[in-house]
C-alpha cells in the first residue's frame, strides 16, 4: 500500500459533498428485479433526490416457491430435497437444522462419525459461500480480479463436496439418523463401510491449505485496496441495537460487534471439540462485514483440518425404522449457516410428513434492514451496502 494516504483519515466517498446546490425533485427509481447486483430477483423501489436516497421499499416474491406449503405434502426424508434449494450457495448447510430437528423429535442419537462428516461438509459449504461473496462483492463495486481467483478456489472445495455427496450445489446427503453412504461403496454389513471417497483426507488437506493461502491473498488484494476501503469503510453502518431488533444474524451481526455464533452456543454439531475463534467487527460497516466473513473462512479451514485429524471410526447411520414416522411434538432447531441463523420450527402430528414447517431463513431478516440502512445513503453506496449483506434470493423468498 502506498504511504501517501493514511486509510483512517481518507476522504470517504460517503462524506464527499456536492459543491453546487441545484434544486432537484424526488424521483422514483426502480432497481431490479433483473439487476446484476440484486443477487437474483430483488426489486427496490427507491425515491432519490439527486444522488441521495430518501426512501427504499424492497419488493419481494419473485422467487417465492412456497416451500412451507410444499413441505406439508412431503414425507420427512423428502423435505431435505426442498431445503437444499433455499440457499443454493450453501445447500448442504440448509439440511442440517431440519435433519437435527427431526432426529430430536424421534430421539435418535446420531453416530459420532456421521456428525463429523456433517460438520466437515457444513464448513466446506461455508467456505464456498464466502468464496462467492469474496468474488461477487468486489465485483459489484468495480474490482474485476477477485472473482476469478475466488471461483477457481471455490471449485476445489466444491469438487470435494461432490466427491462425497455427488452434488455440487444440492447434495441431499443427510439421512435421518446419519448420512448417505457413498454410491458403490460396497455392502453395508461391513463394520467400517466406505463413507468417504479414497484420498479424501489428502485432498482436503491440500484444498484447505489453498483456502488459507487464498484468504491471505484476499486480505491483501481486496482489503488492502484503497479504492475498496474508500467504498466500504464507514459506509452502511449498522448498530447492534437495530440489528437485534430486526433479527439480523450471522456475519452481519458479528460485524456490528456482537460475539454471537451458534457454533459456540448450541450443540447441533460437535463444534465444542475444536479450537476456533469468532471474528467480530468494530464499526459495523461494509468493510467489517467483508473482513468478518473473510476471517471466518480461515477459521472454517482450521476446523476442517482439525476434524480430519481426529476423525472417529464407526457407523455412519443410526438404527431407524424403515418408514420414518416422527412422533407428535414441536421443536425449533437452529444452526449457524454461512448467511446467519437458519432454523426450522417443526410441528409433527405423528404422520409421515410435518403438519407445519416454519422455515426461518437468515437472508429474509438480514435484508429487512435495507430500508433503514439505505435511508439517506448515496446511490453508489446502495450497491456496496446490498453487496455487503450477502443475501441469496432463494433464502429470502423460500
Amino acid at each position: 500500500m502506498s504511504q501517501t494516504m493514511d486509510p483512517n483519515n481518507m476522504p470517504f466517498l460517503s462524506e464527499a459533498s456536492v459543491s453546487v446546490e441545484i434544486e432537484t425533485e424526488d424521483m422514483t427509481l426502480n432497481i431490479g428485479p433483473q439487476h446484476p447486483s440484486t443477487h437474483g430477483v430483488l426489486r427496490l423501489v427507491a425515491k432519490v433526490n439527486g444522488e441521495k436516497i430518501s426512501s427504499v421499499e424492497p419488493v419481494l416474491g419473485y422467487m417465492h416457491r412456497g416451500y412451507e406449503k410444499l413441505a406439508e405434502v412431503r414425507t420427512y426424508p423428502q423435505v431435505t430435497t426442498l431445503v437444499n434449494r433455499i440457499d443454493w450457495v450453501s445447500g448442504f448447510a440448509n439440511e442440517i437444522p431440519f435433519i437435527a430437528g427431526a432426529e430430536k423429535l424421534m430421539e435418535i442419537e446420531v453416530p459420532e462419525r456421521a456428525q463429523y462428516i456433517r460438520l466437515i461438509l457444513t464448513e466446506m459449504a461455508r467456505i464456498s459461500s464466502h468464496f462467492v461473496f469474496n468474488g461477487a462483492f468486489p465485483l459489484e463495486i468495480g474490482a474485476l480480479t477477485p472473482i476469478f481467483l475466488a471461483m477457481e478456489d471455490r471449485e476445489r472445495v466444491l469438487d470435494l463436496l461432490e466427491s462425497v455427496t455427488g452434488g455440487r450445489f444440492h447434495p441431499n446427503f443427510n439421512r435421518i439418523g446419519g448420512v448417505k453412504p457413498v454410491a458403490g461403496a460396497g455392502p453395508t454389513t461391513k463394520k467400517d463401510i466406505q463413507d468417504l471417497p479414497a484420498g479424501f483426507y489428502h485432498d482436503t488437506k491440500v484444498a484447505m491449505e489453498k483456502v488459507l493461502k487464498a484468504v491471505d491473498t484476499f486480505e491483501d488484494l481486496i482489503g488492502g485496496n484503497e479504492v475498496f476501503q474508500a467504498r466500504t469503510k464507514k459506509v452502511g453502518i449498522l448498530t447492534k441495537e437495530v440489528a437485534e431488533e430486526y433479527g439480523v444474524s450471522g456475519p452481519i451481526l458479528r460485524a456490528s460487534g456482537v460475539e454471537f455464533d451458534l457454533r459456540k452456543q448450541s450443540d447441533y454439531l460437535p463444534y465444542d471439540k475444536f479450537d476456533f475463534e469468532i471474528p467480530i467487527g468494530e464499526n459495523g460497516d461494509c468493510f467489517d462485514r467483508w473482513s468478518v466473513r473473510t476471517s471466518e473462512m480461515r477459521e472454517s479451514a482450521k476446523i476442517i483440518l482439525q476434524a480430519i485429524e481426529d476423525m472417529p471410526s464407526g457407523p455412519i447411520q443410526a438404527k431407524v425404522p424403515k418408514v420414518i414416522k416422527v412422533p407428535k411434538g414441536q421443536t425449533y432447531v437452529r444452526a449457524e449457516n454461512p448467511k446467519g441463523e437458519m432454523g426450522y420450527y417443526i410441528i409433527s402430528e405423528g404422520g409421515l410428513g410435518p403438519y407445519r414447517l416454519k422455515i426461518r431463513t437468515a437472508s429474509f431478516s438480514n435484508i429487512s434492514i435495507l430500508p433503514i440502512m439505505l435511508e439517506g445513503a448515496l446511490l453508489p453506496d446502495l450497491i456496496a451496502i446490498m453487496g455487503s449483506l450477502d443475501f441469496v434470493l432463494g433464502d429470502v423468498d423460500r
Partner: protein, 194 residues
Amino acid sequence: MKSGERKTLNQSDQNEFINSIQSSFKNTSYNFDTLKINVDISSWIDTHKILKKDFNLSFFNWLSAVDWDNEVKTGDAPKEPVTPSFEILSCLSQTNSNNLVISSTVISKENAEIESLVDVFAGANWHEREACEMFGINFLNHPNLTKLYLPDDYEGNPLLKSFELISREVKPWPGDVDVEGMPEESIVVEEKGS
C-alpha cells in the same frame, strides 16, 4: 477441556433461565429443548414487552402462524381432533447465550385479528405481512399490511389447510408410491416371466 467447561456452564445458565421463565409465566412447556409460553391474546403485547425488558430477549427471531383444522385439503389431518383455530407463534432469543423462547397465542378463525408487534419489535413488520397474506390474519395497527410475496391481486391464503395444492390435484405426487421400477425395467421383467 476448556470447551467442555464452557458447555456445563451454559447448561446451568440455561436451566436457571428456564426456571425463571416458568416461575413468571403460568402456562409454559419445555419439550424437545424448546421452551414455549402460551399466553392469552389480551396479554400478547405485554408478554413481549416483559420478555424484551426483563429477560433480555432482545433478538427478534421470527413470527408465524399455524392453521389448526381437522379437515385438511393438503397433507395429513391431525390424528387427534383439534379445535379449529389459528395459533400465532413468535420466537425471541438472546445474543449472548442459547436461550430462546417461543410465545404462542390462539385466536379464533371467525375473528382472526391480533395486535401488531411492530411497536415492540420493528423487525416483526415483514413477518406479520407474510402471516397476513398466507393465513388471512389481520394485524391491528400495522403500518403497512400489504402483500409481501404474493401479487397484489392474488386471492386466497395459500398456507391455510383448506387451500388446495392444485398441481397435486392434476397429477398425484410420484413420491406417494414406494420405490417402483422404471417403466423399461418392468417391461423387461414381464418378458422374462412370460
